[in-house]
């Protein structure tokens, strides 16, 4: 793998016997028609996964992928071609395919000259990555997880655990002479348990975590045991869950992963592409009040070791912290280079892609709300009747009409200011541009999620993070079955 993480840009040149001169020629070829910009995206990804089920680590898999994507931009048009055969000849063929987007006429830009590598953050300089840990040791952890979970409660009938680790090396070379590269480690541990009890049926509980971290991260602060306990308690609690209520009510969201609310309700709608095209419910609303003054929401790709963080985005721009909403006022979009240029704004380091097989687009990194003053107890005590939701599955949004959903997997009734009974999972639905106007309390307990999120957009998946303090929303529709 990359033995020279300090100089990842050398990795591809050495590996594929290319020179900066040959890349300049490919970019020159890409720009032969009337284009504004071209770039090359090199990727080498090494991924390994292990899985345990029925007390056996019986699945191991490894995937090595590599390739190059060539992009040509002309006005608001994008030509993209990729190949997994990394040779100069194949790159030239891809460049010709990508440049078909541009008009025949027009002079080529000045010859491309690649400069010195651009600076990048140092957010995940690891001494070793989980891929360096012997497979036996990784397998042993999964076995310990299985034993630990089964020992917790006889009602735990099955345990599934998996550990996935990858390392991506990327390099971006652009027609304006920039070159940027990065080595991106990432891992995730997942635990799912099935609990069964006569007369109460079966329930599932899941938890997990990780990030751009070393193997020892999972052992610090007893993290893996904590994941096991949380997965198990979720399944066991849900055995006693009653039907969730249906209709609009006060909802209190717990800290951490419930920040998926922000991702769905706010984040997607503020991605630059949707706003440039005017297809987002947030289009042309900068400067307007879209949340209560208690709410400040940021997207921050610069948090060390987080799953959603990047030293540079997939266009070579260093990531940054972008304030999306400040004290309730909408103040920023998330931008890649294309949409920033077309909107006359600055790129924010949010141009991301799943792999070399995809063109970049504006995506979130770590999206969270800044903490407020209230204590979590005060917030619960303030609710006479409502729902307290602490864990969620996935969510989704319709960008155009702003309606979003996210589904609770662990939730409780609040009655008379106290948390009482667990209720079954239910989907919550709201309207992005106004749900945060109903936030009446913000807690002082901001937490980021444990490192499990994956965001899908237009067929591309990328790792992301979310975060939230405990908040009170004065009315949102809860999709339970109980009238």
């Amino acid at each position: 793998m990359a033995n020279e993480p300090a100089q990842p840009e050398k990795f591809f040149l050495n590996r594929f016997g290319m020179t900066e001169g040959s890349l300049e020629r490919v970019l020159g070829n890409a720009l032969e028609r009337k284009a504004d910009y071209a770039d090359l995206y090199f990727e080498y990804r090494n991924a390994e996964a292990l899985a345990l089920e029925e007390s056996m680590v019986n699945h191991t898999s490894k995937s090595i992928s590599q390739g190059v994507g060539v992009r040509v931009c002309a006005d608001d048009r994008t030509g993209y071609a990729y190949t997994d055969e990394v040779t100069v000849d194949r790159l030239q063929i891809a460049a010709e395919a990508a440049r078909a987007i541009a008009d025949e006429r027009g002079a080529a830009l000045a010859p491309v000259r690649v400069g010195a590598p651009l600076p990048r953050h140092r957010l995940y300089e690891l001494d070793s990555t989980p891929l360096d840990i012997p497979l036996e040791e990784r397998a042993r952890l999964l076995t310990q997880i299985d034993e630990t979970a089964r020992a917790l409660d006889p009602r735990i009938r099955n345990v599934m655990a998996s550990f996935a680790a990858e390392q991506r090396v990327i390099m971006i070379v652009t027609s304006d002479g920039r070159i940027a590269a990065d080595v991106q480690p990432l891992c995730r541990l997942s635990v799912t348990v099935i609990a069964e009890e006569a007369g109460k049926g079966r329930q599932v509980g899941s938890f997990g975590g990780g990030g751009r971290v070393e193997w020892k991260y999972l052992f610090e602060q007893d993290r893996w045991r904590d994941y096991v306990h949380k997965a198990a308690s979720q399944a066991l609690i849900n055995l006693d869950a009653v039907d969730a209520p249906a209709g609009e009510m006060v909802v209190v969201l717990g800290p951490g992963w419930p920040g998926i609310l922000l991702h769905e309700a706010i984040g997607h709608g503020l991605e630059g592409d949707f706003n440039r095209k005017g297809v987002s419910a947030f289009a042309n609303r900068i400067g307007q009040q879209v949340a209560s003054p208690l709410c400040t929401v940021v997207d921050d790709g610069t948090l060390p070791n987080r799953r959603g963080s990047l030293n540079v985005d997939d266009e070579g721009t260093p990531t940054s912290r972008t304030t999306l909403i400040e004290k309730g006022i909408l103040c920023g979009y998330l931008q890649d280079r294309l949409n920033a240029r077309l909107m006359g704004m600055a790129p924010t380091g949010n141009g991301r892609r799943e792999s070399f097989a995809h063109a970049p687009m504006p995506r979130m990194t770590n999206t969270f709300m800044l903490p407020g003053e209230a204590t979590p107890d005060d917030i619960i005590r303030s609710v006479d009747r409502g729902l307290y939701a602490v864990s969620f599955g996935g969510g989704q949004v319709d960008i155009t009409n702003g309606k979003f959903v996210f589904s609770a997997s662990e939730a409780y009734l609040i009655e008379g200011g106290r948390i009482t009974r667990p209720v079954k999972g239910a989907t919550l639905i709201g309207n992005g541009p106004d749900v945060l106007t109903r936030v009446s309390m913000v807690g002082n307990d901001l937490a980021l999620d444990s490192g499990i999120g994956t965001c899908g957009k237009d067929g591309q998946s990328v790792p992301v993070g979310v975060g939230l303090p405990t908040i009170r929303i004065d009315g949102i529709t809860v999709g339970g079955t109980h009238a």
Binding site: S65, R202, V204, G247, T481
Partner: protein
């Protein structure tokens, strides 16, 4: 080596490479192995507001390897297909397998289960391969133009996109099976946006997919349907929380049978992570419901001559008049459940086999969709569902919905920002009417369905 062929050449994929890799794996100590070679090429072209927006061209080749050392196994994939790289790759995969726990249920299929001959399922259009950029853009443009021109309230667009692709699969294992097939697909979709005078916007989406270029719906017709779907959402309102019958349009009905197939798949069952555990040969749906899985429909979008383990695909009822007749099984889950594999193994290059339906459909009934809607005094016609609120273990179901409210058997007004909730066990038993409007729009399809009652949450 026994080789089954389907009458078409495997083109760019080299059977000798697969044989070489299997021989190398055996020589390096694997007791059994299988090789999957995939090559794919595609071109997609997008227009937006009448202008060219994107062109994407792709080409990939990958090799997937699964090796067994006794009862231990490992799976790996690579795009580096030179023999020197593959030598290391094969050795490393075998080393991984040795570190994996021996699993008494693992292994290749019983060799007698492999088919001797494979049918030609007409999966590749002999007249059209990849549609060149110029023509692809023209089709997308015609589609979007029809959408934009159909009503003055269609004021914006996420564009229209046409794509075509060809791929080849070659699969071989060390017990002597080798098979290959080539396939293609064509896809056209449009997403226009309607805007009301108050500024509120709604997206409408429609698409068509086929193995044969000539079987695609007319481009302008696709654009017009997409526009109509956007327009009918304008002015949508929230409604009061209520219990009422729910009519699922065909695409939403298809999502229900997809959930059922997931719960009926072997891996979910042996993990006891399914609401269909121990339900074989029992009533799981209303008697009007028959669901067929058929991997061998000619030119079917989910057709393939053999599954991800080299077993013959086939036609079988998953549910027959409400009775769950089979689970969907690969060899591993079949052994665990003490049943026979069903030819539903799915396989990506980097993963061990999973399970998926092939062409899955709910058999049409006799009612027209109008009769189904006409039977509802007050209820919901659901046309969009979002979110992941389905618990496969319990069957609990709660999703975001939008659609059209039905009053006295007529579509009255659009609704949104509501949820529908129930439990899949009750929902399938509660299917009261099955319409006759089955269309093969994807590999999983269903006609319009009426469910007797669900909880609808709104204000």
């Amino acid at each position: 080596m026994k080789r089954a062929a389907n009458g078409r050449s495997s083109g760019g994929l080299d059977p000798a490479l697969a044989e070489w890799a299997l021989a190398r794996a055996r020589a390096e100590g694997a007791s059994a192995a299988e090789v999957l070679l995939v090559s794919a090429e595609s071109l997609s072209a997008g227009v937006r507001m009448g202008e060219v927006e994107k062109l994407k061209s792709s080409r990939e080749r990958r090799l997937g390897l699964r090796v067994f050392v006794g009862q231990s196994s490992a799976t790996a994939a690579t795009a580096e297909l030179e023999q020197t790289s593959l030598d290391d790759f094969i050795r490393n995969t075998i080393a991984m397998a040795r570190l994996t726990a021996p699993d008494p249920w693992s292994g290749l299929p019983d060799p007698t289960l492999h088919p001797a001959t494979l049918p030609d399922l007409d999966l590749r259009d002999s007249a059209h391969a990849i549609i060149a950029a110029e023509q692809a853009l023209q089709i997308a443009r015609e589609c979007e133009r029809a959408a934009l021109g159909s009503d003055p309230r269609i004021r914006n667009s996420e564009g229209a996109e046409f794509s075509s692709g060809v791929y080849e699969i070659l699969f071989a294992n060390s017990s002597g099976f080798s098979g290959s097939y080539a396939a293609g697909n064509f896809h056209l979709g449009a997403a226009p946006i309607a805007q009301a005078d108050d500024g509120a916007m709604q997206l409408g989406h429609w698409s068509t997919s086929a193995r044969h270029f000539a079987k695609l719906e007319d481009a302008a017709a696709v654009g017009k349907v997409a526009a109509a779907r956007a327009l009918r959402r304008l002015g949508a309102r929230k409604i009061k929380t209520t219990r009422a019958p729910v009519v699922f349009d065909p695409d939403m009905a298809a999502s229900l049978i997809r959930s059922l197939a997931g719960a009926a798949s072997g891996p979910a069952l042996y993990k006891r992570a399914s609401f269909l555990v121990d339900r074989l040969d029992t009533q799981v749906a209303a008697s009007a419901v028959t669901i067929i899985d058929d991997g061998r429909m000619l030119a079917g979008l989910g057709s393939k001559p053999f599954d991800g383990e080299g077993l013959a695909t086939n036609r079988k009822p998953l549910v027959e008049r409400g009775i769950l007749k089979t689970y969907l099984l690969d060899c591993y889950s079949a052994r665990k459940l003490n049943l026979a594999p069903t030819g539903n193994a799915s396989r990506g290059t980097a993963d061990s086999p999973g399970v998926s339906p092939t062409n899955l459909y709910l058999e049409p009934g006799s009612y027209t969709p109008e009769q189904v809607i006409g039977s509802v005094a007050r209820g919901l016609y659901v046309t969009e569902l979002i979110g992941f609120g389905i618990n496969a273990v319990t069957g609990d179901y709660s999703r975001g919905a939008s659609g059209i409210w039905i009053e006295n058997g007529e579509l009255a007004y659009p609704v949104q920002e509501i949820t529908i909730a129930g439990n899949l066990k009750d929902m399938f038993l509660g299917i009261e009417m099955v319409a006759n409007d089955l269309r093969w729009r994807s590999s999983v399809v269903a006609p319009t369905l009426k469910l007797s009652e669900m909880m609808i949450a709104g204000e």
